[in-house]
């Protein structure tokens, strides 16, 4: 966990929960400084319910020698109860709907005292940290030494994690996110400056035609009509003004083109940069990240979120900036034209923006209702379309139609509510704007007609015409300003999701000074390896064994025993939490990751083929392999025959995840891929478990050829496939339970392997 993540978790707890982000300092001091030796805090958790299920805090703290219960008193202090750590016999967790129980039982001379020493109630929010503490307490009861871990970090992570994962990011302020987003414009600053300048020019140029119009009325049309001037004398001035308006429009439209083109391209370039950076970063992230995040959510971040950011950068930023410039400029021009009328027009504008903003908030709530109803409608679709056979078989079509119609009507009702709102609001707003214009008329008419000087000095017709033209320009920027919050919200939410991925640090990283082994021999040694996915509950518990180069090792044992975790550690998808793995005598964490993985091959139970041709899939690990090598690999994998029978041969395009091939065919392509890579260490993870007998025979033949001359770790459900293994490791409950050859293990009549073998034989015979 990085310092930044730790800070974020603390921020999350403080911002979203009503509990402390760490053990209170005063309590910590009184626990640590108790007795002659300072205590080390191994773990702590918070029980947030009392016996009556009311919210009341009790801290439970496991230290070097004691278990401390600290009940928060209404006065603010703590009532401490210390229990010696070696006095516990049993730990129990009882889970309810929203109230869980931790019970710790003491020892008696003949076993377990049946009255609990500790009985604490707590909510789901505390469950992960309480489970972590319960696990450690169990270790204590078994006399197992606890691994050192930062108790504060464990507590922070466990309480903050559900919020962090739901939220997808921490609580950085919106403005900071916008600034960070805008920093991506830096490489394109020339284009941005030109684009923004063009946009500002468009806005300012829009102010010119009304001014020229007013000028034309006052200086040309009116004097000519009243006989003060002769038309022939000023016709050139009139045409000049018209020409001026035409030039302004031409320049303005050119600037619009320039702005749209430059900023749309800049938006695309930034979105491209973000997508590249995001995808590159995704490649660096550890497998633990992928186990936490949903695939759909990650795809959305790379695709639609970056697309939404393009929209914001290309248009949102400009529109908002220009709306602001427009409103300020229009207000300034109107006030400079005529102070009184200008104020009448400008002063209601902030109120209108506020009204639009409030209306937007109301609409947002209505859309939330629409969204909820829409989800209910799509639930029917996602239920019935994939399950159409069941619907038909149970003759429930009419019922499903009824369910759909009812929800469909609900959606329409909600949309009607939305339409009723906006169709009422916008005419109302326009009415308010027109009322303002009407006020301008009311105040201007007496001055235009010379009947009411109390309203101000006389007003020329041209100035008034200019004024009216300017008032029509208020509508669009007012509308945009009312939507600023929504525009910002959409953009910052997307930016958040993108930046969350970019800010995640890979947990498995190369050593700064890595050891590069050009060609591995394939010796593998596990030395007291421990591992816990959550950092607390060990799934591998002190595993030690050594494998010589070229050995075929079978991994067997009950499901959930730790076989796949062992493989995950060997491939360095995760780093060990204790002990070490040596490959050719070098700690795996010291090896250069890229070169190491180039020499490790893996064939999975569910072979994964990429969208592309069979040739591309076989060449995935060795893109430069020759056609001869590809065919040779396919022959080894028993794949050549079926591939050459395909109409497009090796150029056959296999669909997403290779679904145009059968399971056995996909598996043989994946074996060919592993063969071509020529790995020094090969991992076969249940490679034949989901295929029929004939296909299994072909795959088995292929694998027999594949394993020759390599160190192989094979997990197999069917024990018969591991008869050729040099040794078998029986993994159970994270431990190495048995080790030996097939015959050696069968020699132990009560052994785990013997039982598994007998069970499979019975099933086989029964079949």
């Amino acid at each position: 966990m990085t310092a930044e993540q730790r800070f974020n978790d603390r921020d999350i707890i403080e911002r979203y929960t009503d509990q402390p982000a760490r053990l209170p300092d005063a309590l910590r001091s009184s626990i640590i400084d108790h007795g002659s030796n300072p205590e080390h805090i191994a773990s702590y958790a918070l029980a947030d319910l009392d016996q009556q299920l009311a919210f009341r805090r009790t801290w439970i703290v496991l230290t070097t020698s004691t278990l401390v219960l600290a009940r928060e008193q209404p006065s603010g202090g703590f009532d401490l109860q210390r229990l010696p750590r070696d006095g516990f016999a049993k730990v129990e967790l009882a889970l309810g709907l929203s109230c869980h129980l931790l019970r710790v039982y003491g020892k008696t001379t003949d076993g377990v005292d049946n009255q609990p020493l500790v009985e604490l109630r707590f909510t789901h929010r505390q469950r992960p940290s309480m489970e972590g503490l319960a696990f450690l307490l169990e270790q204590v009861t078994k006399g197992i030494a606890l691994e050192a871990r930062d108790a504060d970090v464990a507590y922070l992570e466990s309480v903050a994690q559900p919020i962090r994962e739901a939220q997808a990011l921490v609580s950085t302020r919106r403005l900071a996110v916008v600034w960070r987003l805008l920093s991506y414009l830096k490489p394109y600053k020339t284009r941005v400056i030109w684009g923004m300048s063009a946009a500002i020019l468009v806005t300012l140029l829009a102010l010119v035609p009304p001014f020229l119009t007013g000028h034309l009325v006052d200086r040309v049309i009116r004097p000519v009509q009243s006989g003060e001037l002769k038309g022939a004398d000023v016709v050139h001035v009139a045409w000049l003004a018209v020409l001026g308006i035409a030039v302004v429009h031409a320049v303005s439209k050119h600037c619009v083109w320039l702005r749209l083109r430059l900023l749309a391209v800049v938006g695309e370039l930034v979105a491209r940069d973000l997508r590249d950076e995001l995808f590159a970063h995704l490649q660096r992230l550890s497998m633990s990240f992928y186990s936490r995040k949903k695939t759909g959510s990650l795809i959305t971040r790379v695709s639609s979120d970056t697309d939404r950011l393009w929209e914001f950068l290309a248009f949102g930023v400009v529109e908002v900036s220009l709306a602001l410039v427009s409103l300020v400029a229009l207000s300034a021009v109107l006030i400079s034209l005529d102070l009184r009328l200008g104020l009448v027009m400008a002063l209601p504008v902030p109120l209108m923006c506020l009204a639009i903003h409030l209306h937007g908030n109301g609409m947002q709530r209505m859309f939330t209702r629409v969204w909820r109803k829409w989800s209910r409608l799509t639930d029917v679709l996602s239920d019935t379309i994939p399950g159409m056979r069941v619907v038909k078989a149970f003759n429930q079509g009419a019922r499903e139609r009824g369910r759909f119609s009812e929800r469909n009507a609900d959606v329409v009702n909600e949309f009607n509510r939305v339409h009723a709102s906006w169709t009422g609001f916008w005419p109302g707003l326009m009415l308010a704007l027109e009322a303002t214009v009407l006020c301008v008329w009311v105040l201007a008419l007496p001055r235009l007609l010379g009947t009411g000087h109390a309203f101000g000095p006389a007003l020329s017709l041209g100035k008034f015409v200019s004024f009216l033209l300017y008032t029509t320009m208020f509508v669009y920027p007012v509308e945009i300003m009312g939507q600023v919050a929504r525009i910002m919200h959409r953009a910052t939410s997307s930016a958040h999701r993108v930046f969350e991925v970019l800010d995640t640090q890979p947990e498995v990283v190369d050593d700064p000074d890595p050891v590069r082994i050009e060609t591995l021999r394939g010796q593998v040694e596990f030395e007291r390896v421990t591992f816990a996915y959550d950092g607390v509950r060990q799934v591998i518990k002190g595993l030690s064994f050594k494998v010589e180069p070229g050995e075929l090792i079978g991994l067997v044992g009950p499901s959930g025993g730790g076989k796949t975790t062992l493989i995950n550690l060997l491939t360095r998808f995760y780093d060990v939490t204790g002990g070490r793995i040596l490959v050719d005598g070098v700690d795996l964490r010291k090896l250069e990751g890229g070169r190491y993985r180039e020499q490790v091959g893996i064939v999975l139970q569910e072979p994964y083929l990429f969208q592309g041709s069979v040739l591309e899939n076989i060449r995935y690990g060795a893109p430069d392999a020759s056609f001869d090598d590809v065919i040779a690999a396919a022959r080894v994998a028993n794949a050549h025959d079926f591939i050459s029978r395909l109409p497009h041969g090796y150029d056959t395009v296999v669909g997403e995840r290779g679904h145009t091939l059968s399971g056995g065919e996909r598996q043989r392509v994946s074996i060919a891929r592993a063969v071509l890579k020529n790995p020094r260490i090969l991992i076969l993870d249940e490679a034949t478990s989901s295929v029929d007998t004939e296909t299994e025979r072909k795959i088995q033949e292929a694998m027999d050829r594949l394993v020759a001359g390599r160190t192989v770790f094979a997990i197999a459900h069917r024990l018969s496939t591991l008869r050729k293994a040099n040794r078998l490791l029986v993994i159970q409950d994270g431990n190495l339970a048995e080790l030996g050859t097939h015959a050696e293990l069968l020699a132990n009549p009560n052994g785990i392997y013997t039982k598994l073998h007998r069970l499979q034989q019975d099933l086989h015979e029964a079949a």
């Binding site: 319910l49 709907l97 909820r372």
Partner: protein
């Protein structure tokens, strides 16, 4: 008849009396009085039948559609040890023990008042008042409240805690306004 004992207890315990039938020899109990429920000093609910007893945990089969009845009594390994379809058929002491245990096992927070509902990044943040005290919790934006057959609403927060609005209509106007978009 409504109760039966079946399954195996999860582990031996210090009590001299244990229920030890196996799943394959499940025998329907023929009289309600044969099943006795009691809370023992270990803090747990015990199911006793004749001279056999075991600690049990409770699972309501229909926690929202029929919470008062159909209760499964299970071992720590989730093996059903007994089944109570109607607690009224138990003796009064057993009924009381069952009721106490159910109030804890089926405990969820009841929302009496909503103080605020705000949207944050991908979260909907609630501040509410419950009979147990005030609570702040969060749900995902698309985690909609679930309607229960009795017209109540269940809201599950990101951590998994369940909050119940027993009758949205009976909330005060301000609370109703705050949850308007989430309630029909």
């Amino acid at each position: 008849m409504t109760q039966q004992l079946a399954g195996e207890p999860s582990s031996p315990c210090s009590s001299p009396a244990h229920v030890t039938p196996s799943a394959s020899t499940a025998v329907p109990v023929t009289a309600a009085a044969q099943l006795v429920l009691e809370q023992r000093r270990d803090g747990r609910l015990w199911a006793r039948q004749a001279d056999q007893a075991a600690p049990v945990k409770l699972r309501r089969c229909f926690p929202w559609t029929f919470p008062e009845r159909y209760i499964s009594l299970q071992t720590d390994d989730n093996v059903e040890l007994a089944f109570v379809s109607d607690p009224a058929e138990l003796d009064p002491a057993s009924q009381a023990a069952l009721s106490r245990a159910l109030s804890e096992a089926g405990f969820v927070f009841v929302i009496e008042r909503v103080d605020s509902v705000e949207e944050d990044f991908e979260l909907r943040c609630f501040k509410v008042q419950t009979p147990r005290g005030p609570r702040a919790f969060q749900t995902a934006l698309d985690a909609w409240p679930r309607e229960t057959p009795d017209g109540g609403l269940l809201i599950e927060d990101v951590a998994g805690d369940v909050f119940r609005i027993e009758n949205p209509e009976s909330l005060d106007p301000r609370s109703r306004e705050l949850v308007w978009e989430l309630v029909d």
